[in-house]
C-alpha cells in the first residue's frame, strides 16, 4: 500500500531519472543511511565490528568492483585476491613513505595504483575472452602474490615478510594501528563504501555502463554499433581494479592491521568475492551488498550454531561450511541465476500490487 509510484509526480528530468524513483525506496534509503551513520557508531563494539561490520563493508567494496567487471562488462576475473594485495601493499608503501599525508588520500591513491595494474593485466582481454581470460587472470593472482612475497622492497625488508600498518589518524582520531576504536574504523569503511556505491551506481547507468553492458551482451555486435572495445574493456578493468584496490587497502590497513600475503590474498579470496557476486546477483549494486552480507554472515552463523550450540569441533564446521557454500552456489545457479538481487526485484514487483491482485 505504501509501495506505489502512483501519486508521486515527477516534474523534471532529474526527478525522473533518480536512483530511487519510488518514494518508499527513497525514504528507506535515507533510513538505512541514517542508521548506518548515526546509530550504529554509538552502539558498535569490537566483536561486532571485527566479526561482521568491517568485513561486510570491505567485501562490499570489493564485490562492487568485481561486479563491474564480471556482472556489467562480462569479463570473468579470478585475480581479485591479487589486486586486493596490490591495494594493500600500495597503501603500506605510501603510509610508510609519506607519513604526513592523510591515510584517506593514501587509500584512494592505492586504488589508483591498483587500477593501473588492473589495466596491465586487462590488456590480454582484447585478444582472449571467456574461459581463456578467466584462466589468464589467474596469472595475475599467482604472479602478484609471488611478487609481494619475494621482493623485499614491498615489505620494507621486515624480517617476518609481513606488513603491518602503523598508526595513522583522521581528524585526530586513530583509524589504523592497535589503538583504534571500533567506531572509528567502522566509520572509515562506511564512508568509503557509501561513496563507492554511489559512484558505481552512477557509472553503471551512464553511458560508460551502457557500453560495458553492450560488450557483455555481445562484443562483436557492440563493436559494430560503435562501442570501442578497447576503451570499454580497459575502463571496466580500471574502475573495477580501483574499487578492489581500495577494498584491499582497507582490508589490510583498517581491518587486519597485519598481513601475510599468501594467506590473506590467496586464490580463495578471489573465489570468495566471485561467490559473493554470484549469490548476490551479477550486474547489480544491491546484489554486491547482499552477497557480501550473506557470505560474511554465513560462517559466523554456522560457527555459532554448530560449534556454539551443538558443540561440534571447529574443523567439522569448517568442512561443512565449504560444502554449504559450494552447494549454495549450485542451488543459486540452478534456481535463480540472477541471485538475491533478483529475489529482491521480484518482491518489489509483488509489493507494487499488494494487496490487490491487479
Amino acid at each position: 500500500m505504501l509501495y506505489r509510484e502512483a501519486g508521486d509526480f515527477k516534474t523534471s528530468y532529474q526527478d525522473d531519472n533518480q536512483t530511487f524513483p519510488i518514494k518508499f525506496d527513497r525514504y528507506r534509503y535515507y533510513a538505512v543511511l541514517f542508521i548506518a551513520f548515526a546509530v550504529i557508531p554509538f552502539i558498535i563494539n569490537d566483536y561486532w565490528a571485527n566479526a561482521i561490520f568491517l568485513p561486510f563493508l570491505i567485501y562490499a567494496i570489493a564485490a562492487i568492483g568485481l561486479n563491474i567487471l564480471v556482472g556489467y562488462c562480462g569479463q570473468v576475473s579470478l585475480g581479485t585476491g591479487g589486486f586486493m594485495a596490490v591495494g594493500a601493499y600500495a597503501v603500506y608503501k605510501l603510509m610508510t613513505s609519506f607519513p604526513e599525508v592523510s591515510i584517506l588520500i593514501h587509500v584512494v591513491l592505492a586504488g589508483g595504483i591498483t587500477a593501473i595494474v588492473g589495466v596491465l593485466f586487462g590488456l590480454p582481454s582484447l585478444r582472449i575472452k571467456g574461459f581463456y581470460l578467466a584462466v589468464a587472470t589467474l596469472a595475475a593472482q599467482f604472479f602478484l602474490v609471488w611478487l609481494f612475497n619475494r621482493v623485499p622492497w614491498f615489505y620494507n625488508y621486515s624480517a617476518s615478510g609481513q606488513i603491518s600498518s602503523p598508526e595513522r589518524t583522521v581528524l585526530g582520531v586513530p583509524v589504523t594501528g592497535a589503538n583504534t576504536d571500533a567506531w572509528a574504523s567502522y566509520m572509515v569503511c562506511l564512508v568509503f563504501v557509501t561513496i563507492s556505491a554511489i559512484i558505481a551506481r552512477n557509472l553503471t547507468r551512464g553511458s560508460m555502463g551502457r557500453k560495458w553492458m553492450a560488450i557483455r551482451d555481445m562484443d562483436i555486435a557492440a563493436e559494430i554499433i560503435g562501442v570501442n572495445p578497447l576503451t570499454a574493456k580497459l575502463s571496466a578493468f580500471a574502475v573495477s581494479s580501483f574499487f578492489i584496490g581500495v577494498a584491499g587497502a582497507l582490508f589490510f590497513a583498517v581491518y587486519l592491521g597485519a598481513v601475510e600475503v599468501g594467506e590473506v590474498f590467496g586464490i580463495n579470496k578471489s573465489f570468495l568475492v566471485l561467490f559473493m557476486i554470484i549469490i548476490g546477483g551479477l550486474g547489480s549494486i544491491f546484489g554486491s551488498f547482499a552477497g557480501a552480507a550473506f557470505l560474511v554472515l554465513l560462517p559466523v552463523f554456522l560457527k555459532n550454531v554448530l560449534v556454539g550450540t551443538l558443540g561440534w569441533p571447529t574443523d567439522l564446521a569448517a568442512h561443512l561450511e565449504f560444502m554449504i557454500v559450494g552447494g549454495l552456489i549450485i542451488v543459486f545457479l540452478i534456481v535463480e541465476p540472477h541471485g538475491l538481487a533478483q529475489l529482491w526485484r521480484v518482491a518489489k514487483d509483488k509489493l507494487r500490487l499488494w494487496p490487490f491482485p491487479y
Binding site: V135, A139, L328
Partner: protein, 328 residues
C-alpha cells in the same frame, strides 16, 4: 660438457616427467569440455577426492566417522580391514561413477542450455562442495597412498648417465611409471573414442548436441559416461600425485596448473593437452633452474600462467585448438 648443460638435461628430463602428470589432469578437462562444453574446474578436486577415497577404502576407514562421532558421541574409526590396491581402485572407480551420475542428475541436467560461464561457475561450486565432502568423509589429515608402484631413484639410468657424463641423473621410478601409464591411458582413450559405439556417440555429442540427439543418441547417458571417464582419469592422476607427495589439499592446487596447460594446448585437443603439459613441465623446471635464483626462486607458482598468458596473446585458441569463429 659443462656442468650447467648436464644439470640442465636432468632438469629437462624431470620437467618432462612432471609435465606428464599435468597432462594427465588436463586430459580429464578436455574430455568433459569436448563432450559437454563444460569447463570443469572441479577436475583437480576430483583427483584429490578420488585419491582420498582410495586411501579411505584401502585402510577401511569409516566414512564420515568424525561427523558420526561428534553427533552420536561414538568412537568409530575403522572397519578394521586392509584391502589390496586393486580392490580399492575398483571400488573407488565405483564411487567416481556414482559421483558422475549424481553430478549429472542433480546439477547439470538442470543447467542445460545455460551460458558456458554459468556452467563454469557451477563447477567451481562443485569443487568447493567436493573439497568439503572429501574432508568430511575421510578427514583432512595428510594421508600416505601406497598402491605398490615402484618409487625411488632409477638405478639403471643413474648408472648409465654416470658412465656417460660422470654424473648420475636422479630420475624417480614413479615418474617413469606415470609416463608409461599416461601413454597407455591416452592410447586407450583414442581407441575408445575411435572404435567403440559409445566412443563414437561421444564424439558425435561433442560435435553437435542437437544433431546427436536427433539420430537417437542418449545425451544424458553420454554425459554420465564422460564424467565417469573423467573420474577415472582423475583417479589415475590422483594415484600418481598421491603416491608422489601424499594425499593432501595442495593436490587440488597442483591440479590447477592443468589450466594453463589447457590454454596452451587448446581446450578441445587431446594431443594439445599432452603437448601443453610437457611444455609447461619442462618450461617451469628450466625457468626455475636458469632464471629462478636470480629473481628470488619459487617461480613455479606463476610461470605456467604467465607463459600461457603471453602465448595466448599471439594465438588465442592455443596450440591445437579449433579456430575460434565468431558471428553476430
Amino acid at each position: 660438457m659443462s656442468d650447467t648443460l648436464i644439470f640442465g638435461m636432468e632438469v629437462f628430463l624431470n620437467g618432462l616427467m612432471a609435465g606428464v602428470l599435468y597432462a594427465l589432469v588436463a586430459l580429464g578437462f578436455v574430455l568433459i569440455y569436448k563432450a559437454s562444453g563444460i569447463f570443469n574446474y572441479a577436475q583437480g578436486v576430483m583427483a584429490l577426492f578420488a585419491a582420498m577415497t582410495l586411501v579411505g577404502i584401502m585402510d577401511g576407514q569409516v566414512p564420515f566417522s568424525h561427523l558420526i562421532n561428534a553427533v552420536f558421541g561414538t568412537e568409530v574409526h575403522h572397519f578394521g580391514w586392509h584391502l589390496p590396491a586393486l580392490v580399492g581402485i575398483v571400488l573407488s572407480m565405483g564411487v567416481m561413477i556414482g559421483l558422475a551420475w549424481l553430478v549429472q542428475q542433480i546439477i547439470f541436467r538442470h543447467l542445460v542450455g545455460q551460458e558456458p560461464i554459468i556452467l563454469f561457475m557451477a563447477t567451481i561450486g562443485l569443487a568447493y562442495f567436493m573439497e568439503g565432502l572429501g574432508d568430511l568423509m575421510w578427514g583432512a589429515d595428510i594421508k600416505k597412498l601406497d598402491v605398490g608402484l615402484p618409487q625411488g631413484i632409477n638405478l639403471w639410468i643413474d648408472e648409465l648417465t654416470f658412465n656417460l657424463f660422470d654424473y648420475g641423473f636422479f630420475i624417480d621410478n614413479l615418474d617413469i611409471v606415470a609416463t608409461v601409464i599416461a601413454a597407455i591411458l591416452v592410447l586407450a582413450l583414442v581407441a575408445f573414442s575411435q572404435y567403440t559405439k559409445q566412443g563414437r556417440a561421444m564424439r558425435a555429442v561433442a560435435d553437435d548436441h542437437q544433431a546427436a540427439l536427433s539420430v537417437g543418441i542418449n545425451l544424458s547417458f553420454i554425459w554420465v559416461m564422460v564424467w565417469s571417464v573423467a573420474g577415472f582419469v582423475a583417479l589415475v592422476a590422483g594415484i600418481m600425485w598421491g603416491t608422489k607427495s601424499g594425499v593432501q589439499f595442495s593436490l587440488s592446487l597442483i591440479a590447477l596448473k592443468a589450466l594453463p596447460v589447457l590454454m596452451l594446448g587448446g581446450f578441445t585437443s587431446i594431443p594439445g593437452a599432452i603437448a601443453g603439459g610437457l611444455i609447461i613441465g619442462v618450461g617451469e623446471k628450466l625457468f626455475e633452474f636458469l632464471v629462478g635464483p636470480m629473481i628470488g626462486g619459487a617461480t613455479e607458482n606463476w610461470f605456467a600462467y604467465v607463459l600461457a598468458l603471453l602465448f595466448l596473446v599471439f594465438r588465442p585458441q592455443g596450440l591445437f585448438g579449433e579456430k575460434i569463429i565468431e558471428r553476430v
